[in-house]
Symmetry: C2
Subunit: 326 residues, 2 copies
């Protein structure tokens, strides 16, 4: 296979001139460019992405940090981002921090070397300034790390409002929302704030209960769900992430509650986990596809040194009504 040196020799120019033409990094006289392009055609030269990357000081690789690879929402989002990046000629390297701040910090340190051209941050355990100090193109996914960094995120407030509507239509009197830590800095927490706001305005009692999100032990979730429903027998509505929602559904049925007459359930995220159940679960769906497309679009702009017109990109969420609400 012809190398960049063969092309340079054929065109009677220096190899670095060939690479300049390949990468469009500097002005090259039109006739020189023509000579090089002719030589490439004649030699059937296929630019090797990796070689091209080395010339450009680019790796052609983007990293994405996520809190858990096991979480169906993140694994689906990673898939969408990877597909989109691939379309644009980039590879994705995925780093999962297991929700641990030390791991997040260590990955960021590794990524400061020349392995990647840009970073997508689906994590949020560091302080704003730690993200801001990272000197490569970076985009945030669920955490607003201040004015230097763009963020692409679901419209979680709308998500909370859409869920509230369903609890009202189901005539609920006491709704529990299950989530991770009460973290106002994490954007997804806004679905709880919006839900509480709407339910309070309608005079519906409600309460936020924290459950660890990254255990992935379904029988454990089932136990917790049962305990909560026994402790609060008056509860007639629950909003929870897909897997925990499935646990509440199972627990409520075991306790003899009728769905949706005695008990309404809204699942958050709307991954395939909400679909596999025998009962069609009412879900708020985050569009991983749209988040992925927008994230890659913005990151490519940053990597090309372009200015962004705005900093925060809100992606619409929708509700799919199922059999678990009226």
């Amino acid at each position: 296979m012809a190398s960049i040196r063969d092309v340079a020799k054929k065109a009677n120019v220096a190899a670095c001139t060939v690479s300049r033409v390949m990468n469009g990094t500097a002005n090259v006289a039109p006739e020189t460019r023509q000579k090089i392009e002719d030589a490439m055609k004649e030699l059937n030269y296929i630019p090797n992405e990796l070689a091209r990357g080395m010339f450009r000081q680019k790796s052609g690789t983007v990293a994405m940090l996520i809190p858990s690879i096991r979480h169906p929402y993140f694994s689906n989002l990673a898939h969408c981002i990877e597909s989109k990046l691939y379309e644009k000629g980039y590879k994705l390297m995925l780093c999962s921090t297991d929700g641990q701040i030390e791991r997040e910090r260590e990955y960021i340190n590794i990524l400061k070397t020349n392995i990647v051209d840009g970073v997508i941050m689906g994590v949020s355990d560091l302080e704003d300034n730690e993200y801001q100090q990272f000197d490569k193109p970076m985009i945030m996914l669920d955490y607003d790390a201040g004015k230097k960094l763009p963020i692409v995120v679901s419209d979680h407030e709308k998500g909370g409002r859409l869920a509230a509507e369903k609890f009202m239509e189901s005539q609920c009197r006491y709704v529990i929302h299950i989530g991770d830590r009460e973290l106002s800095k994490v954007e997804s927490y806004k679905c709880h704030t919006a839900l509480a706001h709407a339910l309070n305005a309608a005079g519906i009692e409600n309460r936020f209960i924290e459950i660890k999100w990254n255990e992935f032990d379904f029988s454990g979730y089932l136990e917790i769900a049962k305990t909560i429903l026994e402790k609060y027998p008056q509860v007639d509505g629950v909003m929870a992430a897909d897997i925990q929602a499935a646990a509440f559904l199972k627990a409520a049925l075991k306790l003899g509650k009728k769905i949706p007459d005695d008990f309404a359930l809204v699942s958050y995220d709307g991954t395939y986990v909400a679909d596999v159940n025998l009962v069609n679960v009412t879900s708020i769906i985050q569009s991983a596809d749209k988040i992925g497309d927008k994230t890659v679009e913005i990151l490519l702009k940053l990597m090309a040194g372009q200015k962004l017109t705005k900093r925060k990109y809100l992606i619409d969420v929708v509700r799919k009504d199922g059999e678990t609400t009226k």
Copy 2:
């Protein structure tokens, strides 16, 4: 924070001597070692993993290639491997090929550079010699790529036999096994061979039907399941991967079949997807934990230049009996 140079200055030795002590790469006189260790203590020197890696020509990073990050089995396995690697001081970079041979090849090319110290191959689209030509420590997960490369894999034959037992106990007369392409080179295909063998021996009719494994469109799977069950109304048993199994369960109930009297179902993999359902699904469980532990153990040996005592490591599978079989 103290640097390696500060330590060298304090101990009155060259920086490379300090790094030799840190990495144990060469003999250093005991008194010199003591001086260096004292200086480290005094300066409260914390060796930076990355710096240490650069001295050792190691990155402290392992890559894992998988066919899909969305697949609950692979995402769970990646999680287990990552946790184990982290325990041992390594980071994991995950690359998902989307089942495409071109992507697999491109990732392998990237990984030939100095980004990673070793590679875990959870993919299987290339030819044996392409894997064998890779010149870093490599371990295979579900594909036996020939005598040069070690493989850690579930005992899929046992998985097939355990499933067959349940179909027999459920008095099935016609069992369908759903899978991806008929690929004898992929180890997981052995569960189908073993299932067919056992069912044939018992005079139970059976048939393998191919369904794309990486669509993740549950309503699509549901349609396919319905079509298959309508085309083969005599079918009274199905073995399929977790998500597809959920689709068959839903389709069978919609067609008015009684579970497990008219229809028995066995789910393969046994991820949390099999657990979230309202009905407890009988599952063959691949132990991602044990596969992860063994894989990391073997890879670390390879990276340390140790010889392996054997090449193939078979990990036990178990069956969890649920409500979908007799």
